[in-house]
């Protein structure tokens, strides 16, 4: 093999392995790079077919207010189960997702649980919202369209009606 071929081969390996190492480094430490992702475009909306950006009448973006209102821990009491579940709502891209955070018994003693996406709030105008509630029933999981109605700043009602199965839950914000 010619010397020049060997040199180019080594340089080729250097570029591929060096570039790959750099990409892996960036993947492990994404804060180290000055990159910008347009989260509006690259988001992974769960229900893209009916997603609509909430708009206020004044056309001013409501995102920051919505974020303040929705983000954080929310507790839902389940009387039939004799306990409560605390959810953590986070803004991800242009939607809000609620993840399971803590399960509490009837005395209020809590135990942390793995974060499972339970509710996806796709539109919200500071009073009402729409989303998908992920329900498990008899071992099967269902994506149920749901509505959200804010009663006050720290309480909202989540209601759903899906093939005869209906329910209303009261979500209370935790400090």
């Amino acid at each position: 093999m010619k010397t020049s071929n060997v040199i180019f081969k080594i340089l080729g390996y250097f570029i591929i392995l060096g570039g790959l190492a750099l990409l892996i480094f960036y993947a492990l430490y994404p804060s180290e790079i000055d990159w910008e992702i347009n989260s509006e475009k690259n988001d992974y909306p769960t229900e893209i077919y009916e997603y609509k950006e909430p708009q206020s009448k004044s056309n001013k973006p409501t995102t920051s207010n919505s974020k303040v209102m929705l983000s954080g821990k929310w507790k839902v009491a389940y009387k039939d189960l004799g306990g409560a579940m605390v959810y953590n709502i986070k803004k991800e891209g242009t939607i809000f997702n609620a993840y399971t955070y803590e399960v509490q018994d009837e005395n209020g003693y809590g135990e942390k649980v793995s974060p499972l996406k339970t509710l996806i709030i796709k539109s919200f105008n500071k009073k009402n919202g729409k989303g998908i509630y992920k329900i498990s029933y008899e071992g099967k999981k269902y994506d149920v369209p749901c509505k959200i109605k804010f009663l006050n700043k720290s309480t909202f009602e989540l209601s759903y009606d899906y093939y005869g199965q209906s329910g209303v839950e009261t979500w209370k914000k935790q400090k």
């Binding site: 960036y26 769960t46 986070k90 793995s114 974060p115």
Partner: protein, 327 residues
């Protein structure tokens, strides 16, 4: 390999790739990634890899052409034509996306057969695996059906083999994958994840378009698609026709009977050389050649059959000299 065996193997592979993430989602509590984390992952490996690997490597290839006295006007103009085709391909894809592809994805997602899979590492890995297997089949059909070869011949028509060739696209190269990725979405893979995974397979494959890297270690060559395997795929040598369709994993070719190792020196291009660096001619030559063949074919049903038969197919008793494309 018989068609029944081919279909059976493919169904088993698909059921396994789709079944595992659903089984895991139903039975195990695996932490989910946020959308931003997954965005970041694919942004780094799909977009930044062009900046940090593909462009520097192409510059190295140009330097190698220069030192080996192979850098000539034809090669430079061929590379320029490649970049122009990717631009035209991008415009067509953008229009296709706006007109109906995004709507089809949305429709498929709305009427999906299974629940949405959570964004766990199992789902992401399965989605990449699924995108890779679907790529094998879409790629195979683009070679083995005349309607596919009409557009995909553009990618194979360069007599050179470097990273710019990876971006030499035909006008409808973005159309065929829709037949595979849209049904995939119905199995619970988020459409955006599916698209990102497809792009990941394409990006991996782009890096394989080089003559600089020889054969790699045997275990790697056995499992993964490598520059050596992909050189074979681009060969116009008769024994290399319709071989090595893989994107990331060459095991699909080994399992489905289309694997061929690199032995004889590869002659790049198609059997009837294009012999042009005119970007317009490069981009549309598959369509114009097929149009001339259709004009020559007698009988309406025969003309229709020409779309779904192999690229070289002609009805009994009819010939179309000269034999145009490879296959």
């Amino acid at each position: 390999m018989s068609k029944i065996r081919l279909i059976t193997y493919s169904i088993v592979i698909l059921a396994t790739i789709i079944g595992i993430p659903h089984y895991v989602a139903d039975n195990f509590n695996i932490p989910e990634y946020s959308n931003e984390t997954v965005d970041t992952f694919f942004y780094i490996f799909n977009s930044l890899s062009i900046l940090y690997i593909i462009i520097p490597f192409f510059i190295l290839e140009l330097a190698r052409y220069f030192f080996t006295k192979r850098l000539n006007k034809n090669l430079v103009l061929d590379s320029v034509a490649n970049l122009i085709t990717v631009g035209a391909f991008g415009v067509i894809n953008y229009i296709l996306g706006l007109l109906f592809a995004l709507k089809l994805y949305a429709w498929a997602w709305e009427y999906r057969f299974f629940d949405e899979l959570p964004l766990t590492w199992v789902t992401i890995a399965s989605c990449i695996l699924l995108a890779d297997f679907l790529y094998y089949w879409e790629h195979r059909l683009m070679h083995e059906l005349a309607a596919g070869w009409v557009t995909h011949t553009v990618h194979h028509s360069s007599p050179h083999f470097n990273m710019s060739v990876a971006y030499r696209f035909g006008p409808l190269d973005g159309f065929f994958p829709l037949f595979f990725s849209i049904p995939a979405v119905m199995f619970g893979f988020n459409p955006f994840l599916m698209l990102a995974a497809e792009l990941f397979v394409q990006t991996f494959q782009a890096v394989l378009h080089t003559e600089i890297i020889g054969k790699l270690l045997k275990p790697i060559e056995y499992i993964f698609n490598t520059p050596s395997h992909h050189r074979v795929h681009h060969g116009s040598n008769r024994q290399y026709w319709d071989k090595n369709y893989a994107g990331i994993l060459i095991i699909w070719d080994r399992m489905l009977g289309t694997f061929e190792p690199e032995e004889e020196k590869v002659v790049y291009g198609i059997s009837e050389a294009l012999d042009s660096v005119n970007p317009v001619k490069v981009f549309f030559h598959g369509i114009t050649r097929f149009y001339h063949k259709l004009k020559h074919t007698k009988g309406f049903s025969n003309k229709l059959l020409s779309f779904i038969k192999r690229p070289h197919w002609m009805p009994d008793g009819q010939t179309y000299p000269p034999q145009t494309d490879k296959n």
